[in-house]
Structures are given as C-alpha cells and as structure tokens.
C-alpha cells in the first residue's frame, strides 16, 4: 500500500541503479534552485565566452543528457528496463 516507484519484479541491483538515477535527477533539480544555485551564481569568470552561471547551467544540461543517454544505451545492451512489462519493439 506504500507508494512504489519501481516494480518489485526488478532485481535488487536494477532497482538500485534506477533509484540512483532518480536521485541524480533530483540533485540536478536542487542544484538549479535556491540555496545550491546561489553558490554558483557569478558573472565571472567567463568560460567559453559565457558567464559562469550560464556555463554551470549548460554543464548540468549536458550532464543530464549524458546520464540519461548512458542509461538508455545500457538498457539497450543488457535488455534491462525500468519497467518489466516494457515491450521490446
């Protein structure tokens, strides 16, 4: 009856992996708002021509992309899925 994020049919290792991914995205989310963002909210130094804070946000965006991409490719390789009923079309 408790809320459940991932199926009990997943292996414990897989559940751990998926939970870590969710935690990662929650951390990214928190990194963009108060109070964490205040630590990175500077105009300088300019990196790649961009203000530091804009660069910081771009890194978070690219980082999120790479993590989700790795998860997807890992699923492709191993046939794993966050959802045991997922069709394999």
């Amino acid at each position: 009856m408790r809320p459940r994020l991932f199926s009990s049919r997943l292996t414990p290792t897989h559940r751990r992996i998926y939970r870590s991914v969710v935690v990662f995205f929650v951390l990214i989310f928190l990194a963009m708002i108060w109070p964490v963002a205040t630590l990175f909210s500077h105009a300088r130094p300019l990196i790649l021509g961009m203000p530091f804070f804009l660069f910081y946000l771009a890194v978070l965006l690219v980082g999120s992309f790479l993590v989700l991409l790795s998860l997807y490719l890992w699923e492709d390789r191993t046939g794993a899925s966050s959802d045991p009923e997922e069709d394999s079309l």
Binding site: M1, P3, Y18, M32, I33, L57, L68, D83, L89
Partner: protein, 483 residues
C-alpha cells in the same frame, strides 16, 4: 520580398500539413493519436517545437534583454522537466494501447473511476490553453506587423498565420501538427544558432567580448536571480519557484502529455526523452540575442520587440528578415497548432462525450473535434486581437493550475492506496489555494509562485483523504499501479 519569403514558407507549411494527414485512419485514434505510429524523429520535433513557442523566440530574448539572468529559468526547467516521462511514459503508452486512451483525462478518470475528474481536467486544460494560445496568436500578428513596418496590421498577420494552422489541423489532425512541427523545428534550430552567434559577433565582435562588456557594466544581469519585472534585483524565491512550478507542469501539460499516446513503441518514447536536451540547448543562442541588445539598443519597449528591432536596424538582406519572420511564425504556429488540436480533442473526449453522449461514434467524435478546432481558434483570435483584457494574470494562474495535475498522475501510477475522493479533494484544494494566492497578493511570501502552495495543499489533502476513505478495488487498481 520579405513578405514573399514569409508567405512562401507558410505555403510550404500548409502543403506539408495537408500531405501528412492522408494516410491515418478516420476515427479519433487516427485524428488524435496518429494511430500510435509516430517514430523517433517526428516525436522528437513535435515535443521540441511545441514547447519552443512564440515565448521562446520573442519572449526568451525579451527576458534576457530586460531581466538578464532571470531568463535562465527557462533553460533550467527543461533540463529535468521531461525526465519523468522516461519512467512513466512507457506505462502510460501501454495503458493507452490497452484501453484506447488518447487523452490524459481518459487515463486518470479511468484509473479513479470518476467522470467528475474527467470534466475537471478538461476545464483545467481549457483555462490553461486559452491564454497560452492567445499569446501565440498575438506573437504571430506582431511579427508580421514589425517586419512589414506596419503595413500588415496585427489582426491580419494573426489571421493569415492561424488560417494556415486551422486548415492543416482541421484536415490532418495530429499528423498535420507532427509533420509541420518537424519542418518548423529544424528551421528554428538553424535560425536560432545563426542569429545567436551572428548578432553578438556583429555588435561586439564575439560572444565572449559581449559578455566581457556586460560583466563590467551590468554584472547583476549575468547572475541569478537576475532582475524582476520592475527592473530591481529579482528574489531567489521568485526565481526558484518559477523553476519548481515549471518542472512540475512540464511533463504534464495536457497537449504535451497526449503525445505519449502517439509513440510507435516504448523504446521510441524513451529515446525521444533522452534526446530532448539537444533541442533544449538551442535556447542558449536564443538568449544571446537578448543579451546582445542590452548595451547596443537600450530602452526598447516592449522588451519582446528586441529581436525584430535589432534585425530591422542592421540593414540585413530582405531574405534574412523574411526567414526570421518565418522562423518566428514557425515558433508561434508549432505551439498554437498543438494547443488548438488538443483543446478540441479534450473538449469532445473528456467533457462532452463523458458527460452527455457516451454513445458517440468514432466519426461523430472526429467531426465534432474539427468543429471545435474552428470555434476555439475563433475565441482565441477574438481575445488576441479584439479584446483589451490582459491575459498575463490568467497565464500565471494557468501554470499553477496545470501543476496540480502532477500529484494526481503520481498517485494514479505509483500509489495504490490513493482513492477517488482523495484525488478529487486534493485537486480542488490545489486549485483553490492557487487561485486564492493569485487573488490576494498579501498572502505572498518571498514572491513564491502561488502554484507551489497549491501543490503543497493538493498533496496534503490527497494523502489525508485517501487514507480516510476505503481503498479502491484492488484488481482494477493493479492494472495501473506499479507493483
């Protein structure tokens, strides 16, 4: 010349929109969900382009120009906003295929066995769509007006652009939306990068040089929270809660959510979510455009006019201006078409059919959706050009309302103990609190978005009422909830 390029572009959109609908089936599964056969590329552009609305093309630079780093919130929420789809998307798509759902409310009202929920979600969707659609139309009219130096008035520009939208949505349904968005999305990407790099280079000698100058003169515009609407430093509460409410609403906007049902397969859906940030990154050059205006073009009013103003002042070849005009129209139309189409579908499937005519046939539904597509466009057009009512307040309210659907969806898919009275009471509490905080500014604290308080009330009431009412039939619930 400018006009010729723009009209040529509209002609191509129309052609693609009409051509794309020729193969789908006649019923709502075809008209609303594209027979659940959309592939990766089309789905990628439909999601990318419907979010990059007139707001991104005109409002994004406008925010960067007048409020500096405050505009970074747009970049932030898209970073994580779609990620929930990776996890609930495949399940939602599967349920759609199993039960024949094509809208969000169908899924949720079936899970909670409630016609009232279906009607409530339809009403929330409409309240949210109308100001949004109206702003897209105003954007389209505005672009025509500025680049023809007033020769084409706003009302005529909006009418031309949305006449085209109306024809292809009417004729081709979701496939028209899908294929025109693919065309418009590619076009916007090219244009955003070229303008975003060209303008700083032209005006300052490069992006780095531009930010160097800005960091010396107005450093407060380069760091969050940027400036508020009044030009003073914005609050972290306002900045952060704008991100929070947008992230909560992002994956759940009804016209957006419906597109889950169009995916060909669950892997396709996941791949689309994975690659979404590659579309998001194009906001960065869009923001450069606004920053380029700060020192070179002070005092432009309204700030949304900054991009057309810069372009018109640079003596660019007419073809380039025409292409910009087409790009801005693409941004407006690719969001507007999805909204019009979704609004018609939702009114028929989730409101009219559920409450009054459960026996409607598939072809009756499609016909009524088409009629409503025309009616809704007409209403939005009225607000866009005739009415003097300001919609900005309504728009603020609508984001707060949409976010209230997020807890309902989580309860539906992840919490088997959630009950019909629970989610109904939660939704009502959330909307009431959001409205109250909007109407009574004295309740404001740290400029936190009213919708955030709404979501808090929503979750609290939903949990308490669910636990106080008997659980729903476990066999029924097990079809929906992760076990």
């Amino acid at each position: 010349m400018v006009l010729a390029v723009t009209l040529g572009y509209l002609g191509i959109s129309l052609g693609v929109g009409l051509w794309s609908g020729r193969k789908t089936s006649k019923g709502p599964e075809g008209y609303v969900a594209g027979d659940r056969a959309l592939g990766f590329l089309v789905l990628y552009f439909i999601l990318g382009a419907s979010i990059f609305s007139a707001f991104a093309f005109l409002g994004g630079p406008g925010w960067a120009y007048s409020r500096g780093a405050a505009a970074f919130y747009i970049l932030s929420y898209g970073t994580v906003g779609l990620v929930p789809w990776y996890f609930f998307g495949p399940r939602v798509a599967r349920l759609g295929r199993k039960f024949g759902f094509v809208t969000q409310a169908e899924l949720l009202s079936h899970r909670f066995q409630s016609k009232g929920l279906s009607a409530a979600l339809a009403v929330i969707s409409l309240i949210a769509f109308l100001p949004y659609l109206t702003l897209q139309m105003q954007g389209a009219g505005y672009v025509f007006n500025v680049v023809t130096e007033g020769r084409i008035p706003n009302w005529a520009g909006a009418a031309i652009a949305y006449g085209v939208v109306l024809i292809y949505v009417f004729r081709s349904g979701v496939m028209g939306v899908a294929w025109t968005n693919t065309l418009q999305g590619m076009f916007m990407m090219v244009l955003a990068w070229s303008l975003g790099l060209y303008l700083p280079w032209k005006l300052y000698g490069g992006v780095g040089a531009m930010f160097e100058r800005l960091a010396e003169t107005v450093p407060e515009m380069l760091r969050a929270p940027g400036l508020g609407a009044d030009g003073a430093i914005w609050t972290w509460g306002g900045y952060s809660s704008a991100i929070v409410i947008s992230v909560l609403g992002f994956s759940i906007w009804p016209h957006y959510f419906m597109k889950i049902f169009t995916a060909r397969s669950e892997r396709t859906l996941k791949r689309t979510v994975v690659f979404y940030p590659t579309f998001q990154i194009f906001l960065i050059p869009i923001l450069f455009i606004g920053f380029a205006g700060i020192l070179s073009y002070p005092g432009v009013e309204p700030s949304d006019a900054i991009l057309p103003t810069i372009l018109m002042s640079l003596d660019l070849p007419a073809v380039v201006i025409g292409l910009f005009c087409a790009g801005a129209l693409a941004a407006s139309m690719s969001t507007g078409d999805a909204l019009v189409h979704a609004a018609g579908s939702i009114l028929v499937r989730d409101f009219y059919r559920v409450l009054f005519r459960p026996d409607m046939t598939a072809s009756q539904q499609t016909r009524l959706i088409r009629i409503l597509v025309v009616v809704i466009s007409g209403v939005a057009y009225y607000f866009a050009v005739m009415s003097k009512i300001s919609l900005v307040a309504l728009l603020l309210l609508s984001y707060g309302f949409v976010a209230q659907i997020f807890p309902v969806l989580l309860a539906a898919l992840y919490w088997s103990r959630s009950t019909r009275p629970g989610v109904l009471a939660g939704l009502a509490a959330g909307c009431l609190v959001t409205t109250a905080w909007n109407l009574m500014p004295q309740l404001q604290w740290q400029e936190i978005h009213p919708g955030v308080w709404g979501v808090a009330a929503n979750v609290l009431v939903m949990v308490v009422v669910s636990l106080a009412t008997p659980p729903m039939d476990s066999e029924h619930v097990a079809q929906f909830v992760v076990d």
